[in-house]
């Protein structure tokens, strides 16, 4: 006898409920064990903060598994206890007392103490060591261990960048083994306090780390091993992910991002960052020494068009590189009529030169800008140069206009200060005014986070108005993973916190 329609539907419903319980298959918690394979863009240069260079996304992704910062910086720029449990400033904010977590050990079994922290920072600050991280923390005079778990940092002046520095995941912020560093081995065989222990580094191929069984926060760590594979070619990296050779990659290639978003076999996680692209206008080179010409260029260029053509809208529009909002930015939005009016007011033919890299992206950017400036009546000559040459020409004041960037960081302040202060060797647009110096110093020595934010905004508004630099586009990071990879948490500076993840 055939079952009635109703009975058949009931049977199907029961079967469906049994196969797909409420909450779905994804409701399960972390799974312990397994190996996560991460595809990196570049190899790490070295793990010693003095001997190595600046990390970059690849370096931070590896180093973050082995070494840790004193404080945990969130995406919202809040700072939570990590290796440090508390921190307190004195009345004039020139001295910070930091209390460390007890019971933490380095991977070689030695205790993590205030002495290790003080030695780490003093080593960076020692001019004899010529550390390239030193330039970022010049506001710090020194550090001393008061007792086994208390460090006192002395600053040259109040510095709201202090906590961001402690939370940084670049060279200076991550705690290294002082003994391994003193033995000269930290660079190639790092020892830290982190959730994973360095196992192997096959140069140009992979870095392997294994779970630290004695980690002080074991409950958050699930993987047994992380293998970082060096895959410099972006297409190769993406195809490796699709083929299942790797579980997670970072990419900034618009075509791969768009393709990945359509591909159901991978998962795309986006995260907005601070920092931005930068366009430099050398205010010491005529006719760019005239603010009308600079502003005409500002009105003629279009961040929207560049974002659409070059980045396929994978990067956000940005009026400044700061992680917080500013009410007034004075950003010059694309307006050909205003550009032409300024050109007419200037009254002479305007011929400019722009250096750009010889990469396809560099060429394309140059061509877009050339066409945009042409519409405003400005002639632009493009000079393609190698990346090394571009950097050299900018630093030796042998350029008119060039692309650059403001790197994403916990604290954008040091970069803005360097780019703006008249006596800074990093003032590469050579735009020097008393007002800009006052704004830079006020920003640097601001006595509260709110005062710091306000002075940063004021500085940005001044720069945008005078157009020695043009900000944009903003930073947007894309991490692409295989579906089984879980535990992705909000991350900073494009660095996925892979050490907290697991494979479901």
């Amino acid at each position: 006898m055939k079952a009635s329609f109703g009975r058949r539907m009931l049977g199907a419903a029961v079967l469906g409920a049994w196969m797909f319980p409420a909450g779905g298959a994804g409701a399960a918690g972390p799974v312990n064990g397994g190996t996560l394979t991460v595809g990196l863009e570049t190899d790490v240069r070295g793990f010693d903060t003095v001997k190595g260079g600046v990390y970059g996304i690849s370096g931070r992704t590896v180093a973050g598994a082995i070494e840790e910062p004193l404080v945990y910086g969130t995406v919202e720029r809040e700072y939570k206890p990590h290796l440090a449990l508390s921190w307190e400033a004195n009345a004039n904010r020139t001295e910070w007392t930091v209390k460390l977590r007890k019971g933490v050990r380095f991977h070689d079994g030695k205790p993590f103490t205030a002495d290790a922290v003080a030695r780490h920072f003093n080593r960076i600050l020692d001019p004899k060591n010529k550390s390239r991280s030193r330039g970022f923390i010049t506001a710090v005079k020194g550090a001393r261990a008061v007792d086994e778990h208390t460090v006192v940092f002395t600053l040259k002046h109040p510095w709201e960048g202090f906590l961001p520095m402690l939370g940084g995941r670049d060279m200076g912020g991550l705690m290294e083994s002082p003994d391994q560093t003193a033995a000269g081995k930290q660079n190639r065989h790092p020892i830290g306090t982190g959730p994973f222990v360095f196992e192997e580094w096959r140069g140009g191929d992979r870095v392997v780390v294994k779970r630290n069984p004695d980690y002080w926060d074991k409950g958050k760590i699930h993987l047994e091993e992380i293998v970082y594979r060096i895959l410099p070619d972006p297409q190769t990296r993406y195809q490796s992910l699709r083929a299942g050779d790797v579980d997670l990659i970072w990419t900034d290639r618009a075509n791969s991002i768009i393709d990945a978003k359509k591909d159901r076999s991978v998962v795309v996680t986006e995260q907005k960052g601070a920092g931005s692209g930068l366009f430099l206008l050398n205010a010491s080179k005529p006719p760019l020494d005239d603010v009308r010409v600079r502003r005409a260029v500002g009105y003629a260029l279009s961040q929207k068009i560049t974002n659409k053509v070059l980045w396929k809208n994978t990067r956000p529009f940005a009026e400044h590189p700061l992680p917080h909002e500013c009410k007034v930015t004075n950003y010059l939005h694309h307006d050909v009529a205003k550009a032409k009016a300024l050109v007419a007011e200037y009254g002479k033919p305007i011929k400019l030169e722009m250096i750009h890299t010889t990469t396809p992206r560099g060429r394309e950017l140059g061509e877009i800008d050339q066409q945009l400036l042409k519409k405003a009546g400005i002639e632009l000559q493009l000079v393609p140069v190698d990346q090394n040459i571009l950097v050299k020409r900018v630093f030796t004041n042998n350029y008119m206009m060039s692309g650059w960037r403001v790197a994403d960081a916990n604290d954008i302040g040091p970069q803005l200060f360097g780019l703006s202060y008249s006596k800074s060797p990093y003032n590469i647009t050579r735009f020097k005014t008393k007002e800009l110096d006052q704004l830079s110093l006020a920003m640097r020595t601001a006595k509260s986070p709110e005062a710091r934010r306000q002075t940063e905004c004021a500085l940005i508004a001044y720069v945008n108005k005078n157009m020695n630099m043009r900000f944009g586009p903003g930073n947007q990071y894309y991490i692409v993973t295989r579906p089984g990879v879980k535990g992705m948490r909000p991350f900073t500076f494009g660095t996925a916190y892979v050490w907290y993840m697991w494979k479901g």
Binding site: D43, R45, G46, K51, G53, V54, K130, R132, G135, F136, N187, R188, R202, G203, G204, D205, R206, R229, I230, L231, P232, D233, T236, Q239, S240, R242, A243, G244, D245, V246, V385, D386, Q387, N388, I389, V391, K392, F395, T396, W404, R405, A407, Q415, G418, P425, Y426
Partner: protein, 317 residues
């Protein structure tokens, strides 16, 4: 012994010439490795400091002489960027490149020899024509294009083989070989065509010799005629070409190692060129020059093994 000493002298001259030329070329290239090391956020003082640390402010000839005498003592210097010893960097990557080259040649030979022999035996017939057309088809596809096609078909579509990466032999023989199949085939599918054509042409000539006709007349099996009597005299050009192709493979390995993310000498070299890491460039070029000379020497030795006339000539000399 005299022959060996002569080859050693030849090696030294080649090394001097190649390394000096490379050192000079890298120095005249635009760009400054100090800027690359310092990064975008560094000041001019930082850059100058790096130049002094690395000795880049010293005269070119002094730097070259110091490097060359260091190499003779076994000190190949250090990478400017990573601090890794150049000798360690090159020697750790050499087995990967060697395995790639050997497997590529092996695949090429496995394809070329049977097809070359069959084409020679069936010269002018359908099989010969099919093999000829196929060979031109494969020859017209550059190695990097072949690599991408193989990745798409066998890596992504069929999912049979890994797209990237390297596993050492300690991870298991099959695990190791799997990672080389696609890269080696990328080379081999172009290389076999030339080997096959050369072998076919020489074998057609040899098969027309009187002693082959005599062997046939005596009723010798065809396989014996081919392998014992025809293959040996047909293989001189074949072996010469094998040796020359190794040079091609060493150069082409830069691209294939990059596409398949194999940590070989080629990838090390291309990374060093982009970064203006002089010491690593010099180390790689020196190593490749030594490898090339040794391979040519080996090819010469093979002639002596195959052809008794060469052995007699050398003994007489």
């Amino acid at each position: 012994m005299r022959y060996l000493l002569g080859r050693l002298r030849h090696l030294l001259i080649v090394l001097l010439a190649v390394t000096f030329l490379t050192f000079w070329l890298v120095n005249v290239l635009p760009g400054d490795v100090a800027y690359d090391i310092a990064g975008l956020d560094a000041s001019e003082e930082d850059v100058q400091q790096i130049r002094e640390e690395l000795g880049l402010d010293r005269p070119f000839l002094i730097r070259y002489w110091e490097w060359f005498t260091g190499v003779l003592r076994g000190d190949w210097g250090q990478s400017f960027r990573t601090g890794e010893r150049v000798a360690d960097a090159v020697l750790s990557r050499f087995p990967v490149s060697l395995e790639l080259v050997v497997l590529a040649q092996l695949f090429a030979v496995l394809l070329a020899v049977p097809l070359g022999i069959l084409s020679a035996l069936r010269s002018g017939r359908m099989l010969d024509r099919v093999v000829a057309v196929s060979s031109f088809l494969f020859l017209s596809v550059p190695a990097f294009m072949m690599a991408i096609l193989l990745i798409y078909v066998f890596g992504l579509w069929l999912g049979w083989l890994p797209v990237t990466g390297y596993e050492p032999p300690s991870a298991g023989l099959w695990t190791n070989l799997r990672t080389f199949i696609l890269p080696a085939l990328s080379f081999a599918l172009a290389e076999w065509t030339v080997l096959m054509r050369v072998l076919r042409a020489d074998m057609i000539g040899v098969l027309q010799e009187d002693y082959i006709a005599m062997a046939r007349a005596k009723g010798m099996p065809m396989w014996r005629i081919l392998w014992i009597h025809a293959m040996r005299p047909s293989s001189f050009s074949f072996i010469t070409l094998l040796g020359l192709q190794v040079g091609n493979l060493i150069g082409g390995s830069i691209i294939i190692e990059s596409i398949f993310a194999l940590p070989g000498v080629g990838r090390l070299l291309i990374g060093a060129i982009y970064a203006r890491d002089f010491m690593v460039i010099q180390g790689c070029v020196t190593f490749i020059a030594i490898a090339y000379v040794v391979i040519n020497f080996t090819v010469d030795l093979c002639y002596a093994l195959l052809d008794p006339r060469v052995r007699s000539q050398r003994a007489g000399a």
